[in-house]
Symmetry: C2
Subunit: 104 residues, 2 copies
């Protein structure tokens, strides 16, 4: 494996990792419809401000969302427009895979 190939996998893995927490997935799906500010996310998630802020920073660092400070508020929105497709694709694919097992 070349160094470049290794880097590619590490980068991909990091992006998947950013999506590997229920709260972060909730955030991503919630802002698919349009930007939201932090306190709306805190409300919806019922988590501490600091916790939500950290989740947001993980998603931001992964290039999945971006923020926009306006006045006192910080608004977050989707940056990687593949998210809707991505989540739908995985959900459907896994649903089918489970169906084959007769689980659902």
């Amino acid at each position: 494996m070349t160094r470049k190939e290794k880097q590619r996998l590490e980068y991909l893995a990091q992006t998947f990792k950013a999506l590997s927490h229920p709260a972060r997935l909730w955030i991503v799906e919630f802002i698919l419809d349009g930007e939201r500010c932090v306190h709306e996310l805190v409300e919806g998630l019922d988590l501490n401000f600091s916790t939500v802020s950290q989740h947001l920073s993980v998603l931001k660092q992964a290039g999945i969302i971006e923020d926009d400070k306006r006045g006192k508020n910080v608004y977050y929105r989707i940056k990687a427009d593949c998210m809707k497709t991505l989540i739908g694709c995985l959900e459907e694919g896994i649903r089918k895979s489970r169906y084959e097992d007769g689980i659902t």
Copy 2:
């Protein structure tokens, strides 16, 4: 958030988590072309047998791969046929998102 909705997110997150490690992504991409037995994966990854075995069990539990014991060997192959699309979609989407930043 309903209990069912919570479960859906947890399940999705778990699947993303299974894909959030470079070694596991390498395995998934490696067997996209066809099944492989464990020692081939160990060779390609340059990791301990026990380590590779654990990565395989994570992927299997997530419903991403499945195994087939034949003789002394255990062969692994892709079970969730969305994997190629999924990885390609994320890779492309993130590449674009980074391009906008002028990183690449």
